[in-house]
Symmetry: C3
Subunit: 204 residues, 3 copies
Amino acid sequence: MAILYWLDLFGISVFAITGALVAREKQLDLFGVVVIGLVTAVGGGTLRDMMLGNTPVFWVRDPNYVVVAVLAALCTVVVVRYYELPQTALLVADAFGLALFTLLATEKVWQQGLSPLIAVMMGVISSVAGGIVRDLLSDRIPLILRSELYATASLAGATVFVLLAPINISLAAPLTLLTTLLLRLGAIRWHWTLPIFAMREKSS
Amino acid sequence: MAILYWLDLFGISVFAITGALVAREKQLDLFGVVVIGLVTAVGGGTLRDMMLGNTPVFWVRDPNYVVVAVLAALCTVVVVRYYELPQTALLVADAFGLALFTLLATEKVWQQGLSPLIAVMMGVISSVAGGIVRDLLSDRIPLILRSELYATASLAGATVFVLLAPINISLAAPLTLLTTLLLRLGAIRWHWTLPIFAMREKSS
Amino acid sequence: MAILYWLDLFGISVFAITGALVAREKQLDLFGVVVIGLVTAVGGGTLRDMMLGNTPVFWVRDPNYVVVAVLAALCTVVVVRYYELPQTALLVADAFGLALFTLLATEKVWQQGLSPLIAVMMGVISSVAGGIVRDLLSDRIPLILRSELYATASLAGATVFVLLAPINISLAAPLTLLTTLLLRLGAIRWHWTLPIFAMREKSS
C-alpha cells in the first residue's frame, strides 16, 4: 500500500534526525552527521536484508530511502542552528518510528512465510540495530542495552503481530503499532525498566 | 550426522552463557543479557553465512539455534542468582565451544569446495567473531585481540583440518578438535601468548 | 584490465599496512595485527559485496586479496622493528589507496547498472568502511568521522566519476583519481576540514 511506503519514509526521517542529534553531541563534522543519520535510519533494515539474503538491500533497490535520510539529517543541521528541538517531541516521534519499523519489518518477514520467531527477531533487529550501530560509531555503550524499555517495546509489538496475524490481519497491524507505542511512551513517562541482571555480590 | 548437530547446539549454549556473563558484569537488563548471549552464540556463523551468500543465515533456516541460545542465556540469569559458576568450568566449556565451532565451520566450508585458505578463515571467523561483537557491544576492547592464545588456537585447529582432510577425513576431525582444545587449555593454564607487536621506542 | 587488478592489490597492501600500524599503537599481538590489517584492507569491499548480494564476497572468490593483505601486515611487523616508516610517505600512500578504491568500487557498481547515487555510496563505503571497523576494533572513535577531509575526498571523487562516466569514460577514471587524491593530499597539507556541527549553546 502507498500509505505503508509513506509511513516507512516517515520512520526513516525520524531515525535520521535522532542520529544527526547524537552526532551533534559528539561534535562531528557535516559528513559525520550525514553518515550517522543515514546509518541510524537504514542500518537495521540493511542488516535484516543481508541476513535474509534479500539483496541488493532495500535502499539499493529504492534509493529514495537514502535521499530522504540524507535530507532529514541535513535539515536537522540547519534547523537546530536557529531553533532547539523540544526533547519531548523528539522522543515521541522516535517512539512512532520504532512502532512503524516494528510493524513493517515483522509483517514483511511474516509474509515471506518464515517462522513467527524469525519474524519477531527481524522486526526487532530492523527497528533497533540502526540505533546500536549509531551508538557504536559514536563510541558510547549502546543505550538500547540499558535504558528504559525500548527494544522490549518492539519485541512486545512484534509478538502481538505474529499472534494475531493468523487470526485477523487487519486487527494485527494497528494493535502492533499501539502495543509498541504505548509501552515505549509509558517507559519514557514513568521510566519503566526491565530488572537489571546485577552481580550476586552487589545485590546482597 | 545427528551427533554434529547436537555438538553444534552445545557450542551455541556455551557461547550464549559466556555472553550472558559478560552482560552481567556490565549490569545490563534482562533484554540486554539475552541480546548479548544471542549475538555471542550466533554472531560468528551469521557473518560467515552473509560473506559466503549462504542466506538466509543458518538460524533463520533452523530457529532451534535461537531457541537454544535464548534459553541458555535466561538459565544463566536464574542460576547465577543462587550459585556462582566456577570460573574454571566455564573456561574449559568455552574452550570446547571454540574447538567445536572451529571444526564444524571449517569442515562445512571445505565441503563446499572452497579453497583451504578460505576454509581456515571461515573456521576462525565463525568461532571468534561472536565474541568480538559481544565485546564491542559491551564497550570493551575485544579481548580476543590481546589475551592468551584464543583465535590462534582456532587458526591452528582449522589449519590441521585442511591439511589432513584430503588425506584422511576421519582422522582430521578429532585432531582438529584436539589441537584447538589443547592449545587453548594450555594457554589458560600457562598463560601462553603471542609476541606483542611493541613500538620500537618502547622496546629499546 | 590487468593493470586495475594490480592497482587493487596495491590499495589492499597500503590499507593493510595502515591497519597494522594502528594495531601497533594498541600493542596487539601478532594475530591481532594481522586481523586488524586484514579487516582494514578488505572490510569495506566485504560490506559492499554483502549489501549488493555479490556473494561469496570478493576475497572468497579470489583469495589472493587475503594473501596480499596478510603478507603486507606481516612485513610491516618485521620492517618497523628496524626502520621507522616516515609518516608522510604513509599518508601519501594511504591517499593513493583511498583514490584507487574509490575509483575501482564506483566504476564496478556503475557498470552493474545501478543508479549513480548508489554507485557513489558504494564507492565511499568500499574505501572508508575498512578504516571504520579498524578503529572500532581498536576502541577509538572512528577518525574518519572527525578528522581532515577523508571520506569527503572519496565522495567528491566518486561524484566526479558518475557525472563524467556517461559522457567520457576514459576521462572519468583519471579525473576521479585526481580529485580524490588532490583533495586528500591538500587536506593533509593544509588541514582542511568540514565545518563542525557544534551545539547552539557552545557556538553562541
